[in-house]
Amino acid sequence: MAPQYKLTYFDVGGTAEVSRYLFSYGGIEFEDVRIKRENWAQLKDKTPFGALPTLEHNGKVVGQSVAIARYLAKKVKLVGDDDWENLEIDAIVDTINDIRLKVFPIFMEKDEAKKKALIETLKNDTFGFYLPRLEAEVQKNKGYLVLGRLTWADFYFTTLSPMFDLITGEDVLASYPNLKGVKEKVNALPVIKKWIEIRPKSHA
């Protein structure tokens, strides 16, 4: 039977990788559709709001990477035990997303001098502000980002953190051993290790 879920994104990790990790973690079959950038212009207006990723299931289509990841997290039971615990997870995810929003536009900057300046500001103001605080959260939470145990927040951080190194050309987590530990722990999970082995090699 065809998989019940179809996830559509570009041929990169980006904001879809967290969902690919969650599908893999839960052993849930999914169609991993990767579109080429040159085809995006024609496909854009077929999506709900002109953005990817989208998730199709039972004839319905939704967008928004974090919303999709939260849905899958519930399916694979990487969520809190009550509303307040889920608020704590959601808040850390949104905080990591705030970092992503500062990183993303810099990739688009064409002026090399401007780009260099933006990267310096990113390192000093954004990473310098957020990463020590997230590092402290992991220390407080026995090696996890929230609730003292594995949640989808750890998957979210792991799959977005590659872009920190990509934009700076540095090992950004080198001075954050606890955050690095989260990433290593998640990527060492047998099902995730397997996913990393089998995912398309074109994947950035």
Partner: protein
């Protein structure tokens, strides 16, 4: 025990039918003295009949307060000795308490996706409004008003048309309250015009939400601010 030794702050009012104890509200919401990103949470608590302390600090106190916030931002929500942050996460929590959520995980996904889309629009408007460089700001004006706003508002208007006058699930959800609660903020960032002027279904939704008795009561009693 001597009466004077009791230090718990309670007031007892005894009436013929029952005894009620009044205590400080279970929730304290802290924000700037504006609607903006805290207003959805205020709407949702009000709709759910959930008492909350609506604490608005003076702007000049912000520099001292900022380092004490979880990630240097407000709003924050205090409850049972814990402090939460991130406005949308807190709105989702309030929505669950107010029972304005979906009946299953897919329904909640549909609501979340619309709320995040509205938030995307807010961020794009904010990129224009808060730009410090006047030339850069001017260059962002036309794309925002001629392309971005119509792109989102046309689609959101169509969603409301297809959903029985609501933003998701064909019925009232927290997506509706979220959208209407930040409207004044969006309008003020867009220069004070009514961005919904050309969108009849979104305008009708705004009126639907503002006519809800609990929301009407809240809007009448809340401090009057520009955004």
């Amino acid at each position: 025990m001597m009466e004077g030794a009791c230090i718990k702050r309670t007031r007892k009012s005894i009436n013929i039918f029952n005894t009620t104890e009044e205590m400080a509200p279970a929730y304290k919401l802290t924000y700037f003295p504006v609607e903006a990103l805290a207003e959805p949470i205020r709407f949702l608590f009000s709709y759910g009949g959930i008492e909350f302390e609506d604490f608005r600090f003076d702007r000049e106190n912000w520099p001292q307060m900022k380092p004490n916030m979880p990630f240097g931002q407000v709003p924050v929500l205090e409850h049972n000795g814990k402090v939460a942050h991130q406005s949308i996460a807190m709105a989702r929590y309030a929505a669950k308490k107010a029972k304005l959520v979906g009946n299953d995980e897919w329904e909640d996904l549909e609501i979340d996706a619309i709320v995040d889309t509205v938030n995307d629009l807010r961020q794009k408007i904010a990129l224009y409004h808060y730009e410090a460089d006047a030339a850069v700001k001017e260059s962002r004006k036309e794309p925002l008003f001629k392309e971005t706003l119509p792109y989102y508002l046309q689609r959101l208007d169509a969603v409301v048309k297809a959903n029985n006058g609501h933003l998701a699930l064909g019925k009232l959800t927290w997506a509706d309250l979220y959208f209407v609660a930040i409207l004044k903020y969006l309008n003020s960032m867009c220069g004070g015009n009514d961005i919904l002027a050309d969108y009849p279904n979104l305008t009708a939704l705004k009126n639907t939400v503002l006519e809800l008795p609990a929301i009407k009561t809240w809007v009448e009693k809340r401090p009057n601010t520009d955004m």
